[in-house]
Every structure is written in C-alpha cells, then in structure tokens.
Amino acid sequence: MSRYEPVIGLECHVQLQTRSKLFSAASASFGGEPNDHTDPYTLALPGTLPVLNRRAVEYALRMALATGCRVRRVSRFARKHYFYPDLPKGYQISQYDEPYAEGGAIGFLLDGQPRRVALTRIHLEEDAGKSTHVGGAPTSLVDLNRAGVPLIEVVSEPEIRSAKEAAEYLRALRQLVRWLDICDGNMEEGSLRCDANVSVRPVGATTLGTRTELKNMNSFRHVQQAIEYEVARQTALCERGERVVQETRLWDADRGSSHPMRSKEEAHDYRYLPEPDLPPLHIADEEVERARTSLPELPLARRARFVERLGLTDQDAALLTTERPIADYVEQVIAAGADGKRAANWVASEVLRELNRAERSIADCPIAPPALAGLCRLVDDGTISGKIAKDVFGKMWASGRGAKEIVEAEGLVQLTDEAAIEAACRAAVEANPQQVGKYRAGNDKLIGFFVGQVMKATRGKANPEMVNQMLRRLLS
C-alpha cells in the first residue's frame, strides 16, 4: 500500500446539442465541410456581436437542476483572452467569477457502494475551432465549424480518490447528459471531453500537493489509464524526494504515457474581462421551475424504483437504466399491459442482446413496446410456453408481425386440454416400458426423458407444467 493518496478533480466539457451556436445562428452540428458552419460572427468579422441562444441556457439549466446546483438568478459572461488561430475573436466568451450554477453533486456506484462527488460549479461557454497540423507542412489548417458551439464546463471538487472512481464519475456524467437529452456524450467526436487535475499527498495529509493538469483523453479507458499513469509518476517522484512540477500534460494513448505541454511559467494570463457585449444572464424563477418540472426522473431514482417496484436485481435495474430510452421502453411495455418483472426480463435479455447484435439503438427496435407486451401477455395467460415465446420473439423481430398473429398462423398455441395431454402422456408411457420400469425402480431423473417425448410429439406446444404433473401421476 502506497504512503501517498491521489487527489483528483475533473473538468468536463459537455457540448450542448442545440441547433445553432451559443452566440449566433450558424449550425452547431458536428461534421460538415471545414468552415461550412460559419457566419460573420463565427469568423469574428468586425462589427459582429454575440446574441445568446436561450435554448443553450435551458439545456444548461437542466444539468444544473439534475445535479442539485444552486442556480444564480443573475450570472455574467466574461472574456478569456489568448491568441490562437482557432479562437477567432482572440477571446473565448465564458463565465468566470459569476457562473450560472454552483454546488451540486454527481452520484454513482463504486464497487456497489453509493458515492457522491461534489461539484464546484458549472458554467456556460463557447467552444473553440479545430486546428490541424499536417506533418511536415509549413502551414496549419483551421476549421471553425466547432467554434462557438455551446458548452457547459462541469467542474468537480478534488474529491476523487482513484482513477477508477474518476472513470465511474465520468460514466455517470455521460449517462446523465444523455439522459437529459442535452448532449450525445460522444467522447471520440469530442462532444464530451474531460481534463483531470491530479496531485498526490501523504495519506492523512490535509493540504494539497502540487497538481498537474491532464488533457487529450478521449475515452473512459484513456481517462483511467492517464490518471493511473500520473498518480504512479507523481508517487514515484515523491518517494524519491523530488518535486512535482505544476504543468499541463498531454496523454499519448499510443505510447500509454503523458508528456508536458506547458509549464506554469508558460501558462496564459487570460486577462478576464466582463463581457461588455452581453447583459448579465438573468434566469427567472419561473424558468427554473419550468425546467425543474420538465426534468425526467433521474437515473439513480429510476434504478431504485425498478428494484423496489419491479423486484429486479440491482444489476438488471442498472442495465435497464443506462439509457433513458431503454428505461422508457420497459415502462411502455408495462403500460401496455405486461407484467413488470417479465417485461424487464425480456428487455434485459432478449431485446438488448438483439439490439447489440444488430448494432441498433432502442429507438430503432423493430418490436414496439405494445407488441412486446402482447408477447408477454401470451406467456402470462398460458397461451404459449416460455420456450415457444422465444421463437415467436425471433419471428417478431425478423418480420415485424405481432405475437398473436404469429402464434395463430403457425398453430403455436399451447396445449392445455387435459384430455389431450393425458393421451399424449399415456402414449409416451406405453411406448417406453423399459424406462417406466427404471423410473419406478427409483430413477427420478427419467421424468425428463418422458417430458421430452411428450414435447416432441406435441411439437413443443404442450404446457410443460401440466405434462409434468400428468406424467408423475401416470408413472406413480
């Protein structure tokens, strides 16, 4: 066990999926030909002015309320200055000393135990463009499609104590922004980005060690690896009695290591200035209330309800609440008349497996919730057996036809007529005198053989429970 413990805080940039940019009407969508999604404001042409996109504020507000932040009724934008070709105005409009949201927390499970990591703040800002440096070429390419896309920056307190915990926090954050429908959480495309501030200190110490800032981690795995690497690097330095240098480090996923990008001395002086082109951001009480009431039930609450009300295991409940559309799907199946636990089990097993295999999202599921409810009901009322139901499910998936239609067309209705079952069972018993003898001599397991014979004869349609009872009676 190391004598040092890591202290980790995350700064996550979440792109808000509004149609237009934070301060202009240019498209905020990902992709497009370079510099297609620009307008005079995005290009910082002289004379252009920012006009705030209220939809972005609405999305930002959702996140603040979902994490329990205090929402400032009056917050302020500020200019953060630095020179770089992908920052067209020479400053980024952000929020500085008066962010729109403060406090709050993100909850998640770590090794099955509930954890809450407190947030320092969330603020609104605009994204920068993208520079591409072509190896060997004397010039760089600038694409301003991303410049001005709305972001919220979610800043955690330095309460995270391991790389794994950081990754779990980030997963919970991603789940939440997707759940709230404000960001697609795509780390490869950069709609969700994470920087980590990492330091180590002797176990038991209350002051913080010198921190480094890690950048360029575009997956959960990279975040975890980069932090693990950094904690090990800093711990080794401390154990050798050397000092950690305050610097920004870039993670190199190919090499599995990080290298310094700039030191504290080279750090920018951002010369923050209250943004004179924008009045203070007012968020009215009614706006907050409207956002609060329109907030969906959050993932942790939904998960707890699935465990309590549907009697699901914690694991199944977690699986069904990874994405809000999946949880909603389950509830729609139940609302259409299916038994809760049965519906949940169908979704958790068959539906998710097939979606995975087909690489589809729940929105493209070929079986609509009422159709799945129809299948569940056929099992519940004994029309078909569970085994037959799985075949029917496969046919529904492939054809889009309803369960009842398939069952009727293919004569799959479960045989529950007692006389017919008795006849089938008698036939099986009479045809196998040897096995009857062994069974009666005490080989109980042979019951399975007889059930198999009856099922074969009835093409799987006989009610298994009734067959079982009938055979035991005939054989006793």
Partner: protein
C-alpha cells in the same frame, strides 16, 4: 435649384425628393460633383461610391414615384469608415483592415438605406476611433473646412467636416468619449450621441463596447432628429440595444424651450484648460436659452473630474480585447513571418498605428491578473459614482449645458506626441464629453458662435437616459433663435461656397 442643393438641410431634401420637386439622382450628382471639387483639400472621404450612390438614388426615385413614403428620401449621407458596408471596403481608418470588403451591412446602415438615404461613401476617421483630431488615421488627416490648417476634431473628423463643407447633408459617426460631439463642435455642426443602447452597434467596428454609441451629424438639430428616428430602436442583433419605443424626435424639435430646466455645472467653467472665448460663448448661449424661457439651475457633478482617468482605464481595456481579432489569420493585413507568434507580432506591428498600440498596451496592462481589481474594477466603481452624480443632477433639471470642447480647432500637429511630446494634451480635449459616455447618457453639440469670428464653438447639451427628445428640443429651439448654423465655410477652391 439643381447645383445649389449642397447646403439644403436633410429635412428640405427629403421633402423635395419625396414631393418630386427634386430627384434623388440630381441631389446625389450635385454632391458627388462637389466632393470631387472640394475634398482634395479636405481629405474627408476615404472612398466615394459613385456607382452605388447613383443606383440607390435611382431606386429612391422609383420608390417615390410608386408612392412610397421615405423619411430620408434622397438624403445624401456619408458614413464614418467604422460602419460595416456590404461590398464596400471598410477599414476603420487602419492599415490592418486595408482591402477588407465586408459581406454584410450593419443595422444602422440598413436602416438608413430603408429610410431612403443615399450613401455616398466612407469618411475618414482616427484609426479605430481612437483620437480627437483625426490625425491618427492611417490614410492622412482631415482638414477643418473653416481653416484647413486646423484639425476637424475626432475621431469622427471626416463625418463632421463633410457635413460642414456641404459634401453630404447627414453623416454617421460614433462616440466613445466625445467622438461625435467634439468634431461637431470644432466644425460648427450638430452631432448627437444617443443613450447607450438607443442605436444598434451591430455592424459597427468596436472600440470600447460599453461606451461606443452611434449617432448622426447634421447642420441642424431637426436633421439629426429626422435621422435618429430612422436609426433608433431595438435590434435583436445587439444584446445591449434598448427595447423602448422611439419617440417622434422631429415633433419634439418643434416644441418650445420655455419651462425646461437647464442645469449648469459651474465647476466645468472653472477648468484650467477652458479657452476664455469658448467659455464666454457657451455662457452666452445659456443666457439665450434663459431668454427663451428656460430656467437655469446650478448643479454639481463632483466626480466628473475623475472621468478622464476612469475612461483611460475602461476604454483601453475593452479596446485591447476588441482588437485581439486582428491577427492576420482570417482577413485584413497579414505579414508572413517565421512561426505563428512572429506572424502575429509582425502583422500587428505593421497594421496598427502608434496610438492604437499605446491603448492596446495600456489595456493589456490594466487587465493583467492581479491588477484587475486595482485598475479596471476600481474604474468601474468610479464610473458608477459618476452615473450617480448625473442621476441626482437630473432630479433638478431636464438638460445639462456645458462647453463641448474646452478649445476651438487647433493647428494640425499642435497636440500630437510628435508635435508637443505629451500624449495627455490630446486626451484633455475630451474632458467635457467623456463623463456622458461613462454614464451612458445622450449628449449633443450645437454651434453657438465663433472664436475670433472664424472658428466654431459648440454648446453641449446632456440629457437623462432616453432623454434625446428634450436635448434635441433645446438645440432646435436654440437654432431657431440663432443663425450660427446658417453660416458656411468658404469653398476650398476659392469663390463663394
């Protein structure tokens, strides 16, 4: 009348063109011809858009023939080169924007066009509106039409001189610390800086965003009122624009001055730099208002003396930020040089003039981490005190009357650093105009006499927020009772103007 349209007022031209007594094309042609004849010695125009102006004039004549009512029908207008104009080069008086052709019109320009104005071209100015003499233009100085060896004032020097010389009936300027009122005073025309937010800043190249305001210059208060009616009003493209109804300023101009309370800050008349003749003329103008039935009340503006220091922290801080975009990457000048950092430095070193560089450095210094509280934040607190002084003063009066400039037009070169070695000499030209910008108030300069019988002097009138109507009303009333504005400078090419 053709050939003699150049000293008609905008109101008269709009009336004549609207009534088809004159065609917009005739008016435009007469002004274009006069510019060609007179401007060589003045340097008001950076660009004359002859083809564009005639095309607009023809369109106006067609619209009038169709029966459209255009409040500025055929009025020839010049634009300070800080106004972004679609398809017409816009430089802000700077080398760094040389050759830049904007893809859009700003709101003020679009509103002028919609009202039937004919835009003749772009007017000279101090680079990025920084200066009080127009000598900071990268494209040469403007000469004062009343005495071409003297400055026209600044930064809207071209806008004031062109109107004074009859090269256009109206012009647009911008005023950050006096840049409409001070040149209006030095050139003997009327110029109004409206309440901050009254006219959209969209499409106006920014100097200091929290102080910049657009306004018209004309030879009469009524003309300025007519222009302001077209310009003012909420613009969704400027988040700082005020969403309040626009009064009929021209109606206000016809109301009597009688009964209005005119506040006079006595301390303004004791300032060390105030020229005795200027002081006497302004006092005489206030006396005239009294004779028209206004009541003069003494007021105090105790924090006004801090205006200059406050302004020279806030304006440079904002300018250092606003001018960061001129980096040679996307438009304007680029001086290729080594790596990216060297390209930035070479481009900005070659593109900006010395005064712009001085203010960028001042502002950058003031905003450094650790200095913000001592400089910018402190300046904002003083600014709030200055505004509070005005709020209190306007409890006792409707308008405030002061000199616009402490002196009349000075000799070219007299106050430049090269000429006198003191950068503050130029800054002191704005002592009476700056507090109005810091408080966001409307302010106007109206001609009130001549120093030595030949150099114009302006009376400054200030109003409370959105108090443009009363400010214009007092100025118009004063002009009805005086004839300063009917005198015009002599032609620069000899003969009567």
């Amino acid at each position: 009348m053709p050939g003699e349209t150049h000293f008609l007022s905008a109101t008269e031209i709009a009336h004549a063109v609207g009534g088809r007594a004159l065609s917009a094309v005739e008016v435009a042609q007469a002004h274009l011809a006069r510019i060609a004849r007179e401007d060589g010695a003045l340097g008001c125009w950076l660009r004359v858009d002859e083809a564009g102006a005639l095309a607009q004039a023809e369109a106006v004549d067609r619209a009038v023939a169709r029966g459209d009512h255009l409040p500025l029908a055929g009025v020839p207008v010049g634009l300070k080169d800080l106004f972004v104009t679609e398809g017409l080069e816009t430089t802000a008086g700077s080398r760094i924007l040389a050759g830049w052709i904007p893809p859009y019109d700003g709101t003020a320009v679009a509103r002028l066009r919609r009202a039937g104005a004919v835009i003749l071209g772009k007017l000279n100015m101090d680079e990025f509106a920084m200066g009080s003499s127009n000598e900071n233009s990268a494209y040469g100085p403007v000469h004062n039409p009343w005495d071409p060896t003297r400055v026209p004032g600044g930064s809207s020097g071209g806008s004031a001189a062109a109107v004074a010389a009859g090269l256009c009936a109206l012009s647009l300027g911008t005023d950050t610390g006096g840049s409409i009122r001070q040149p209006a005073s030095l050139c003997g025309v009327v110029g109004i800086k409206p309440t901050y937010g009254r006219v959209s800043r969209h499409g106006v190249i920014a100097f200091a965003s929290s102080l910049d305001q657009v306004g018209p210059l004309g030879r009469t208060a009524l003309d300025c009122a007519l222009a302001l009616e077209a310009l003012a009003g909420h613009d969704p493209l400027d988040a700082t624009s005020i969403d309040a109804p626009v009064p009929r300023y021209t109606d206000a101009c016809r109301e009597p001055v009688e009964g209005l309370r005119v506040g006079v800050p006595e301390s303004f008349f004791c300032a060390a730099g105030l020229d005795a003749q200027v002081g006497a003329l302004v006092r005489a103008a206030i006396g005239k208002l009294e004779s028209l039935g206004a009541r003069v009340v003494p007021i105090e503006l105790p924090n006004a003396e801090h205006s200059l220091a406050t302004y020279y922290l806030i304006a440079p801080a904002e300018c250092s930020s606003n001018l960061a975009r001129y980096d040679g990457v996307r438009y304007g000048l680029r001086v290729p040089s080594g790596d990216l950092g060297q390209m930035y430095k070479a481009t900005r070193a070659a593109g900006f003039g010395p005064e712009v560089k001085r203010r960028i450095m001042l502002g950058t210094y003031a905003l450094r981490t650790g200095y913000y509280d001592a400089y910018y934040l402190r300046a904002q607190k003083v600014r709030a005190l200055i505004k509070r002084d005005f709020d209190r003063a306007f409890e006792a009066c409707d308008v405030i009357a002061t000199p616009t400039s402490p002196v009349a037009a000075w000799q070219l070169g007299e106050r430049t650093i090269e000429g006198c070695g003191d950068p503050l000499a130029m800054y002191l030209a704005d002592i009476y105009t700056i507090s109005c910008n810091l408080a966001g108030l409307p302010g106007l300069s109206v001609p009130c006499g001549f120093v030595d019988g030949k150099l114009p002097v302006g009376l400054q009138l200030l109003g409370p927020p959105l108090g443009e109507a009363n400010v214009l009303r007092v100025a118009a009333g004063y002009q009805r009772a005086t004839d300063w504005h009917t005198r015009h400078p002599a032609s620069t090419v000899g003969g009567a103007a």
